[in-house]
C-alpha cells in the first residue's frame, strides 16, 4: 500500500527553480538599477546576513537564545582590521582568521556558559558583549582604545603577480554577494544534514533528544562556535567596508538587530533570515530611517513577535514557497 504523490489530474509547475534563477539574475544586475546608496543598503544587509545565519542556527534550530553575536562580530572586525593594518595580509586571510578566531574564542566561553539555565545563559551572553567592549576600550596597546583602528584597506586579492583591489561600491557589492551566497549555501547544507535534524530535536525536546543518543551539550557547544564564526566573518567584512573599527562595534545594538532579523524573518528557516535581513536592515538603510526611529521600530517588532507573531514572517514564506511549488 503506497500513496502516489504524482497521481494528480493536471501537471503542476514547480516555479521554485524559476524564482531562484530570477532572484539570482536580479542580484547580479542590481548595480544597474540601484544607485550607490541603494547598493550600500544591500551591502549592509548582506553583511548582517552572516551573523544572522549563525544566530539562526543557535536560536532557530537549536533553541538557544543568545545576545552574544555582537561580541563575536566585534572580535572578527578587530581581528581582520588589525591583521590588515599591522601585517598587510590579503583579505581572504583576514577574513578566514576572523572567523576562526571568533569560533575559537567561543569554545572557552561556551563551555561554562552552556551549563547555565536559559535566563542566566542570556545574561552571560550579554556579558560577553559588555566585557568585549571593555577590553576593546582598555587594551589600548592592541586596539588603540576609543580611537579605534582607522584606515583599514579595502580588500585586495593577490594571485602571483596579479592583484586586485576591491575599491568601488559596485565591486564590493559583488564580493559581499558572493560571500553571502556561499554562507547561505553552507548554512543550508548544515541544516539539511543529520546534524541539522539533531539540532531541531534538541530544540523540540532536549531530554528526548538525549534519550535517542544525541549528545546535546556537545551539539550546543559546536553550534555556539559555528554561530560565533559566522558572526566573526561578518565582522571582518564590516571592518573592511567601513574601514574603521572601534569599541562601538561591541554594542547591544548589533545583537538586537541580528535578533530582529532572525526572529522577524522567521527563526528556523533560511529564506526567512535572508528576507529578514533585506527587510529589516536593507530597507531601513535604504530609506535612511533615523537610527532612533529604527530602534523604536525594532522594539515594537520584538513586542509584536513575542506576543502575536512568534514565527515572524515564516508562515508567509511557507505559503509563498508552497504557492511556487504547486502553482495553485
Amino acid at each position: 500500500m503506497s500513496s502516489n504523490d504524482l497521481s494528480l489530474p493536471a501537471p503542476r509547475r514547480d516555479l521554485r527553480v524559476l524564482f531562484g534563477v530570477a532572484l539570482a539574475a536580479a542580484a547580479c544586475i542590481a548595480p544597474l538599477f540601484l544607485g550607490n546608496y541603494g547598493l550600500h543598503a544591500l551591502i549592509i544587509a548582506l553583511i548582517f546576513l552572516l551573523p544572522a545565519h549563525g544566530l539562526n542556527l543557535l536560536v532557530g534550530y537549536t533553541g538557544l537564545l543568545s545576545l552574544a553575536q555582537a561580541a563575536f562580530f566585534g572580535i572578527g572586525a578587530y581581528t581582520s582590521g588589525l591583521m590588515a593594518v599591522r601585517f598587510g595580509t590579503p583579505f581572504y586571510l583576514n577574513f578566514l582568521a576572523a572567523g576562526l578566531l571568533a569560533g575559537a574564542v567561543a569554545l572557552p566561553l561556551g563551555i561554562p556558559a552552556l551549563r547555565l539555565r536559559a535566563t542566566s545563559f542570556v545574561m552571560c551572553t550579554l556579558g560577553f558583549v559588555i566585557i568585549g567592549q571593555a577590553i576593546a576600550k582598555n587594551w589600548i596597546g592592541l586596539t588603540r582604545g576609543d580611537m579605534g583602528l582607522s584606515g583599514i584597506p579595502k580588500p585586495y586579492f593577490a594571485l602571483g603577480p596579479a592583484s586586485f583591489t576591491v575599491s568601488g561600491t559596485v565591486s564590493f557589492y559583488y564580493l559581499v554577494l558572493a560571500i553571502a551566497v556561499i554562507a547561505t549555501v553552507a548554512v543550508y547544507l548544515i541544516v539539511r544534514s543529520a546534524a541539522g535534524r539533531n539540532m531541531i530535536a534538541i530544540r523540540e525536546n532536549e531530554t528526548l533528544a538525549e534519550s535517542v543518543g544525541i549528545p546535546t551539550w556537545r551539539y550546543k557547544l559546536v553550534v555556539f562556535m559555528i554561530s560565533a564564526a559566522f558572526a566573526g566573518l561578518g565582522g571582518s567584512i564590516y571592518a573592511h567596508y567601513l574601514t574603521v573599527v572601534s569599541p562601538l562595534t561591541f554594542q547591544m545594538y548589533y545583537s538586537t538587530t541580528m535578533l530582529i532579523i532572525v526572529l522577524g524573518g522567521g527563526a528556523g528557516t533560511i529564506s526567512g533570515v535572508v528576507f529578514g535581513s533585506l527587510l529589516f536592515v536593507g530597507l531601513s538603510e535604504a530609506l535612511r530611517i533615523a537610527p532612533e526611529v529604527r530602534m523604536i521600530a525594532y522594539g515594537l517588532c520584538l513586542l509584536a513577535l513575542v506576543f502575536w507573531f512568534p514565527k515572524g514572517f515564516a508562515p508567509l514564506m511557507d505559503r509563498f514557497w508552497s504557492f511556487l511549488k504547486e502553482r495553485k
Binding site: 500500500m1 544534514s193 543529520a194 535534524r197 539533531n198 530535536a201 523540540e204 535517542v212
Partner: protein, 256 residues
C-alpha cells in the same frame, strides 16, 4: 535463559535529603526476557529508571549492561553506546517534525559514527539517511501510522504519539528497552496493539524489556518475571503467578 543477564543492577540507592526514593535495590533482567516492575504509587519505580538510564545520578549502586559497567554514564551515551533505551511516562515526541523525521532522528546517532560525521554532506551520509528512512517507513507501516506519516507529530493523538515513541525505540535495534507505564492514558482498543508490538519486538528482534506498569492484566500477560517495589525497597520477585498470590504484595497494594 542464556547465562549473563542483559541488565544487572546492584545496590541502587537514591535519596533526596531525608527521603529515600530507591533503597538499596538490586535486580536483573535476563537476555530476551520481558520483566515487569510493579509497585504502588511512590514506590520509586520511575526514580529507579531515571538512575538506571543516567537521567539522575544515584547515590550508590552499580549498573551493568551486557556485562559492561555503565554506572555514571550519561543518558545519551547509555542510549548510543549501550543500546539501552527508555520511554517516558509522559509521552514526548519532536512536535514540530513529522512522524518519519521523528523516527529518522531516533536512529541517527546509532548509525553515524560520531558528532562530526553528522555534519557530512557526502554520499556516505546520504546513504545512511536513506537506509534510516527505509527502516522508518517499515516501522511506520507496522505501527499503522502510514496515513499520518507526514503530519507533525505534535498534532497527533496521544495514542499515536505513544506508537511513535515505541517505533522510535526500535529504530536502532536496541538490546534492552525500559518502558515507563506504556499503557498509561491509552485508548483500551490500542492496548492490544501495544502489547503485540512489545511481543513482536521481543520475539522477532530479540529485544529484552523491563516494563513499569500498573495494568495488572497486561503485566501478568506479557511478563515472564515480575519484581515488586514498595517504598523504595524490593518487596518480592517471581513469576506472575507467584506474585499475584504473594501475601506481602497484596497487602502493599491494598493495605497502607
Amino acid at each position: 535463559m542464556t547465562g549473563l543477564p542483559i541488565l544487572e543492577i546492584s545496590g541502587l540507592h537514591k535519596a533526596y535529603g531525608a527521603v529515600c526514593a530507591v533503597d538499596n535495590v538490586s535486580l536483573h533482567v535476563d537476555r530476551g526476557e520481558i520483566c515487569g516492575l510493579i509497585g504502588p504509587n511512590g514506590s520509586g519505580k520511575s526514580t529507579f529508571f531515571d538512575c538506571a538510564t543516567g537521567l539522575t545520578r544515584p547515590n550508590a549502586g552499580t549498573v551493568k549492561l551486557d556485562g559492561q559497567d555503565i554506572t555514571g554514564w550519561s543518558l545519551n551515551r547509555i542510549a548510543r553506546e549501550g543500546r539501552m533505551l527508555r520511554s517516558f511516562q509522559k509521552t514526548v515526541v519532536f512536535g514540530a517534525l513529522d512522524v518519519e523525521e521523528n523516527l529518522v532522528i531516533a536512529g541517527q546517532m546509532f548509525t553515524f559514527p560520531g558528532l562530526w560525521s553528522t555534519f557530512g554532506i557526502g554520499a556516505a551520509a546520504r546513504d545512511r539517511v536513506v537506509a534510516l528512512r527505509e527502516r522508518a517507513r517499515e516501522l511506520i507501516k507496522i505501527a499503522g501510522l502510514w496515513e499520518v506519516r507526514h503530519q507533525p507529530a505534535g498534532k497527533l493523538s496521544g495514542g499515536q504519539q505513544k506508537l511513535i515513541q515505541f517505533a522510535s525505540m526500535l529504530m536502532p535495534e536496541p538490546k534492552l528497552i525500559l518502558l515507563d507505564e506504556p499503557m498509561a492514558g491509552i485508548n483500551p482498543k490500542l492496548i492490544e496493539r501495544v502489547v503485540e508490538s512489545i511481543r513482536l519486538a521481543n520475539e522477532k528482534f530479540g529485544v529484552s524489556f523491563l516494563v513499569i506498569e500498573h495494568n495488572i492484566d497486561v503485566v501478568t500477560d506479557i511478563c515472564e518475571r515480575i519484581v515488586v517495589l514498595d517504598q523504595g525497597r524490593k518487596l518480592a520477585e517471581g513469576t506472575p503467578d507467584e506474585i499475584v498470590h504473594n501475601q506481602a504484595v497484596r497487602e502493599a497494594y491494598l493495605g497502607g
